[in-house]
Symmetry: C2
Subunit: 240 residues, 2 copies
Amino acid sequence: MSATEAPTYVVDERNRVKRRHDRGSYDHETVHRLLDAAALCHVSYVVDGLPYCTPTLFWREETRLYWHGSSASRMLRNLSDGQPACLTVTHLDSLVLARCGFNHSADYRSVMAFGRARLVTEPEEKRRALVMMVDRFFPGRTAQLRASTDQEIKATSVVTMEIERASAKIRAKGVADDDEDYALPIYAERLPVHTVIGEPEACPRLLLGVERPANLAGYLAERPLEEALAEAYAEAYARG
Amino acid sequence: MSATEAPTYVVDERNRVKRRHDRGSYDHETVHRLLDAAALCHVSYVVDGLPYCTPTLFWREETRLYWHGSSASRMLRNLSDGQPACLTVTHLDSLVLARCGFNHSADYRSVMAFGRARLVTEPEEKRRALVMMVDRFFPGRTAQLRASTDQEIKATSVVTMEIERASAKIRAKGVADDDEDYALPIYAERLPVHTVIGEPEACPRLLLGVERPANLAGYLAERPLEEALAEAYAEAYARG
């Protein structure tokens, strides 16, 4: 890679976007932007030859992904060299109603990231991960909380995966009919889909005088969730 | 199963909700309701021992799931007895900010469905699937469209999977702190997350006089997507 080239993930048979390859990207910037705008991912792994797909919250640090090892017992049996995993994030942007069935579609932005998952066991790495698990979403929040107990730290499994391969796939063109079909008297539309924040619901058991801290100001009702998440991400990692 | 018992999916080691088993359900009603309120799923499968997690649109018919076989070449190599697959649907309902890091969480409703995927090849089953692939989301729409060509039908792969096992997992309790932590002067909240429909964007190339058909009336701006999807599902299958 020359100094002027943007960093990209390696492309091979595993992560190459096969169908509609015009929708594929492999550069770090595109892949990371889509990851950092999400809280939820789906992680796939193989146990006894069978596939499992588990939803979980996750975050990125450089080219590593982290998530909560809630299914550690089922998922992370082969710890020696890591358990192969695929972590996928999808932003659904629209449903697309075309003039024929074949061109019905959806706009979306997705990332598939491949690597080998391993439990975070090194104490300093785990300590940092438990902070970022919260602060990546709510920068500075850990410092405002009751400190974690040793028992809590022990009870929390954190999984990490160095991204070995990744691809982003983006469809963002709305209605795309065959040329001759535009002459037909058939209704077609793009139906946008937005994931937004609702009105924050303060815990009814808050002590008198406890106010919403300023570091949550980005999480405003009606705001697109991905916008708040991307902003929080940038803020959290600017703090270091 | 006695006549008065509600139908449920078989529970075994594969689909039993292990961590937080109090959040698990296996009855058809709960599982199907969560599936039918979604358009997007993530499908996991194993190729050469490695996991893949692919986002796709899907729908249910009785205890069978259907999706578009976009990755058929990579995914469906073992057609003889079906390729093991896990199809997961997740509705993210909130982010939960607690008084300690350990109790930070999210409200969600998810389903994991397990079975063996196979390509739909029988002509009548495929014809019906191509209709429902559109009409499940937009009841009656296929009849309003330009008919599919033989080439389009040939170019569309439809995958189906009989649900052999399934589990639903639901967290819906917002902030849940340790008893003694409620006495701390720390802010906590439930931050709701909603996936909603935006303002429909009619295709700019519509012919003059072509109006939005009445069967799309459920897809209104600001409406929760899952509500419109569940309603469309019920309507589509009431039509038969």
